[in-house]
């Protein structure tokens, strides 16, 4: 199971990516999962290497930064009550309206690869991702993920 009930923020009413990143960093910091260097590293990284991904159903994003900024592994899932535009990964001129954000926190490249592999498999499962987005209880819906 790659998700945890503690690592969920539902119905987040943030207006901008900056507000969203601040909210995530605050939560991760309370849970002692990150170093102080996390927020600036995350912002820098997202600017140079954007992580928005348009799947077949909804737009998602997977902001992450170097494991050096991370103390504990985990994925913080944030469902937004209003989509926020992210740049599409691999592009400098395409925007994605993002509805769910997965902050991947990994203490090493291997863990990062495992987490990403799992998330990407989930993103490619159209019906599952749609159910997650429309679910009443975000964590309940995510916990049905059996993995690939």
């Amino acid at each position: 199971m790659i998700f945890s009930e503690k690592l969920i923020i539902d119905n987040a009413s943030v207006q901008t990516k900056d507000e969203l990143f601040n909210l995530a960093a605050k939560k991760l910091s309370e849970l002692k999962m990150i170093n102080n260097s996390y927020l600036p590293a995350l912002q820098r990284r997202e600017k140079s290497f954007p992580t928005g991904l348009q799947t077949k159903t909804i737009g998602v994003a997977i902001p992450h930064c170097d494991p050096i900024n991370i103390k504990k592994d985990g994925i913080l899932v944030v469902r937004l009550n209003k989509p926020i535009p992210f740049q599409q990964m691999g592009s400098s001129d395409t925007e994605v309206e993002v509805k769910i954000v997965f902050f991947i926190c990994s203490t090493g490249a291997q863990q990062q690869l495992q987490n990403l592999r799992e998330l990407i498999a989930m993103f490619q499962d159209d019906s599952f991702l749609k159910e997650v987005y429309q679910s009443k209880d975000l964590f309940d819906a995510l916990s049905l993920w059996k993995g690939k």
Binding site: T55, M89, S91, S92, L116
Partner: protein, 97 residues
């Protein structure tokens, strides 16, 4: 004797999403009857190494600064599944031309 394709995969860290797209691209290229030698780098390293002529083909999830005379293919579709067939088609064109 199968021809070997030297594949370079590029992402922001040079380790994570590049590994994922490299695996998918490698599997596909092998299915076309080639051997594959795959390597992963970040965009900065890639822009320094591509001119060495060590690679036949580059797939990326983070754009690489500069212009090069080998095929450079945006492979983000291999992560989302959207446009995956287009990516494979471009890879095929690049190695069979």
């Amino acid at each position: 004797m199968k021809k070997t394709i030297n594949l370079l995969a590029v992402c922001g860290s040079g380790t994570v999403s590049s590994t994922m797209v490299a695996e998918k691209a490698q599997e596909y290229i092998e299915s076309l009857g080639f051997n594959v030698q795959a390597e992963e780098l970040n965009p900065q390293q890639a822009s320094e190494r591509i001119p060495s002529g060590d690679y036949d083909l580059v797939v990326f999830t983070s754009p690489i600064p500069g212009t090069y005379d080998i095929p450079i293919i945006n492979a983000t579709g291999l992560l989302t599944g959207i446009g995956e067939e287009d990516v494979f088609e471009k890879i095929k064109e690049a190695i069979t031309e």
